[in-house]
Point group: C2
């Protein structure tokens, strides 16, 4: 079956969004923790982020066009820091609920029932319940003029984990695809570094 | 356990790359199909891509700094089109093998054993064995000066799938984390659109 450009464009708006949001495949849903200068905390689930490089350790996050509702992005631009908190299976429903449009003065931590945790002098809120957390430093915002979204580039300042180094391999047991469907993830195979004309080995 | 910035920076290069590549979480590994103007085909596995928007339907792909070995990116810049081919479990080993550094004149399709497929007048090679394929039109390359990587923005021109619309929900049964570990993915739960003070429902 071919779904061509004009068929995509003619789809009803919500149906198109649901379909196109599937087509970047599986991602890890994470909770982005921020606060403003008055220490009002904000927590929101996102999955549009990707690896930019290992040295320095950079991640890139895509944000919707800045609007009244962009509490998380505004906090990041104000304070230059934020947290990334991975989600395990028991956290899925609470994490999904953070995507509701709460007023700015309401903290999603309180509304959905996650515990605020601060790590040392780092003034952005972590989710205590998360077993893998990243303290992030804002580096750059690049405005993507093609559709008014924003690429935020940030450096991993520190990793805070309940896991030992070996088990850090499994960042979580949950993936997401599209806007509303969560998946359970299980290790299948680890393969050796690929070289021409050398048979791959299972590690 | 806290792994701080200086500990991250002091890690041995490969160990750091392995760790940091884990921290963007699960992604869908896909095969990127390209060809040059002489019709030499190239196929390479990537996972660093993300959703940029639904209207127009845009995906963003991160590429390493341009070098002699950037056959895929060079082909995209030359021809302005490429294909994205999702991977199912039986395809994992062949797909992983495309990450080996083959010379430009060698086609990874032949080397690893995938079948080239062309769709109508679209002059970029698809992987016949893939059950979900996207024909992509290059829109823009943004150079990320912070680490010399490149963000390629491309529009979904058409979707080519063996699945019916209902089953398109599951784009594939495979996710990847880091550079070498593949995971099996199973649907866990689909949740209703979140609103403040409304209980989520399972759909």
């Amino acid at each position: 079956m071919i779904i061509n450009e004009s068929e995509i464009k003619q789809m009803e708006k919500r149906q198109r969004a649901a379909l196109i949001n599937k087509l970047n495949g599986y991602k890890s849903p994470v909770l982005l923790g921020t606060q403003d200068l008055q220490k009002n905390t904000n927590l929101t689930i996102i999955s549009s982020f990707t690896h930019l490089g290992s040295d320095p350790a950079l991640l890139g996050f895509i944000f919707r066009p800045l609007s009244q509702d962009s509490h998380g992005l505004k906090n990041i631009l104000e304070t230059k820091i934020f947290t990334v908190n991975f989600i395990n299976e028991p956290m899925i429903k609470k994490a999904h609920q953070t995507s509701a449009r709460y007023p700015k003065e309401v903290s999603e931590f309180d509304e959905v029932g996650f515990t605020v945790h601060y790590e040392g002098a780092f003034k952005a809120p972590f989710v205590k319940e998360s077993s893998l957390k990243l303290g992030m430093i804002f580096k750059e915002k690049i405005d993507l003029n093609i559709n008014n979204t924003h690429l935020v580039i940030a450096e991993i300042n520190f990793i805070n984990t309940l896991l030992d180094f070996e088990h850090l391999a499994e960042v979580s047991d949950v993936a997401v695809n599209g806007l509303d469907t969560y998946y359970t993830v299980k290790k299948n195979i680890r393969l050796s570094y690929a070289k021409p004309n050398i048979k791959l080995e299972e590690l």
